[in-house]
């Protein structure tokens, strides 16, 4: 085929609109005031103890939701105030520890191939849309939580929001 006849490659616009994101504090879970300049300071102006993070709206926590932020190696990087109460620890103690020390998959019989670890790893790479999973506190039986898992950042990490107890 002649080069002149060949149709040139073109950049095709993504047909899907960009997913709306929500901004929240990694400690108190609240959204910043509209006037807070997040480019100047990432520190939450409300509590002063967390950094402002972004996440797709379906994963975004509310102020009353306990949540954790873990990196690609499943090490805890942030723990919300509500999660501190729920898991009986403090953020300073939990940071740099593996998530399995606090939470494990809740459905042992679940036939789904996507385990909690895989979901978190994908989310930490920013590749996974928001998904739900069941977890339970480590060494605690009879308590299970629905959790939403999705990407957050910057830098890219996985957000695990613990919702209603089941």
């Amino acid at each position: 085929m002649d080069a002149a006849q060949r149709s040139p490659f073109r950049v095709v616009q993504d047909s899907l609109p960009p997913e709306p994101v929500a901004i929240f504090c990694g400690h108190c879970g609240r959204s910043p005031e509209s006037e807070q300049d997040t480019t100047a300071s990432r520190v939450c102006a409300k509590c002063g103890l967390g950094l402002l993070l972004q996440t797709p709206v379906p994963t975004a926590p509310s102020a009353s939701d306990p949540f954790l932020v873990v990196d690609g190696s499943l090490t805890i990087c942030a723990l919300s105030r509500q999660a501190e109460k729920l898991l009986g620890t403090t953020e300073t103690d939990a940071v740099n520890r593996h998530i399995a020390e606090f939470l494990v998959p809740g459905d042992a019989e679940d036939s789904a191939t996507e385990t909690l670890a895989a979901l978190l790893t994908w989310a930490a790479r920013g590749e996974s849309p928001s998904k739900s999973v069941v977890v339970r506190p480590t060494n605690t039986f009879g308590v299970r939580y629905w959790a939403r898992v999705g990407p957050c950042g910057p830098p890219t990490a996985a957000l695990l929001v613990l919702a209603d107890a089941r």
Partner: protein, 320 residues
């Protein structure tokens, strides 16, 4: 030690300059409020400020910059603090590695790097002494790495002391060195205490407790305000002989014990010797407080003896 500048406090010695920031300046650099900075100190213990003579917080510029960089790449304040702390502890690891591999230049460099982030006092306390302790535990007192580390640290501390500013306080201290010598693990801590006292503005004389002859001349020249018995190697009778010689020449002086175990605490209580904490920074502070309070008491006693009885009764006591 000097403090200059109104916007940026800079404390300097002859060779090392550590930049200090006031709370408002540190907060501006981190883009947070001063209250947030104080809240971080309470919750995370970092950044850890020093105090100015007026008890105001003084943050090390290096610590604040390290935290700012960690915050830019962090997911939480805790993880940023953890990362900034790791950066600071890297200096101690580098120093241990350099000393264990007999690399004098790299050891000098490791301590210079520590000084870029901390004051000299904190560099000694947080980097030099823990590194020596680690080497001593790991290799033992009769090893070549320990011999090298002990010699290097002794040289470094002496060099730092030579560069300390001239005494500015009317405080003279006599240190009775009861350590075994350079290879004694207490020796570095004693040199560190000497250095910090010198930097605190005191006049110092450090003598071995084995040398009693000619002590009167030394005491006549120094006129000490307090005596420190430092190190745990020399026998009690040697130390007691030296302390007796000091007392019989200079009279009763406050006596403190530094890095010396009290085998007979009852006896130490009766002689009034006070135990100093093992940290050289805390020991230096307690020592200065002790000397200054002792001087204050002496001055009061002198004023009571010398002041004449008022001929006219004071207004407040007239009706009494």
């Amino acid at each position: 030690m000097c403090v200059r500048g109104s916007r940026t406090a800079t404390k300097c010695s002859d060779s090392w300059t550590v930049r200090y920031l006031k709370t408002s300046e540190a907060a501006t650099l981190l883009n947070v409020s001063p209250n947030t900075l104080r809240a971080w100190e309470r919750r995370f213990g970092y950044p850890k400020p020093q105090r100015s003579p007026g008890k105001h917080r003084l943050y090390t510029h290096g610590e604040i910059v390290a935290l700012r960089e960690s915050l830019q790449e962090g997911l939480s304040i805790s993880s940023a603090v953890s990362r900034a702390r790791e950066g600071l502890s890297a200096d101690a690891d580098t120093l241990v590695g350099a000393l264990a591999s007999f690399d004098r230049e790299r050891a000098d460099g490791a301590l210079e790097a520590a000084l870029a982030l901390r004051s000299l006092e904190r560099s000694v306390e947080e980097v030099l002494l823990p590194s020596l302790e680690e080497l001593h535990e790991k290799h033992g007192p009769e090893s070549a790495p320990w011999a090298f580390a002990a010699r290097w640290s002794s040289d470094w501390l002496k060099r730092a002391q030579r560069l300390a500013p001239a005494p500015v306080r009317e405080v003279s201290l006599l240190i009775g060195d009861a350590s075994q010598g350079e290879l004694d693990p207490d020796a570095a801590a004693i040199r560190a205490l000497e250095l910090l006292c010198a930097r605190g503005g005191a006049r110092l004389l450090c003598l071995s407790v084995r040398g009693v002859a000619g002590l009167a001349d030394a005491l006549g020249r120094l006129q000490p305000d307090a005596v420190v018995l430092a190190g745990g190697y020399a026998r009690d009778d040697e130390v007691a002989r030296w302390a007796y010689a000091v007392r019989s020449t200079a009279g009763p002086l406050p006596v403190t014990l530094y890095r010396r175990e009290v085998l007979r605490p009852l006896r130490s209580r009766t002689t009034g010797a006070r135990l100093l904490p093992p940290s050289p920074t805390h020991a230096q502070l307690q020592l200065m407080e002790l000397v200054e309070s002792d001087k204050l008491v002496s001055a009061r006693e002198r004023s009571v003896v010398t002041s004449p009885t008022p001929l006219v009764p004071r207004q407040g006591s007239a009706g009494a």
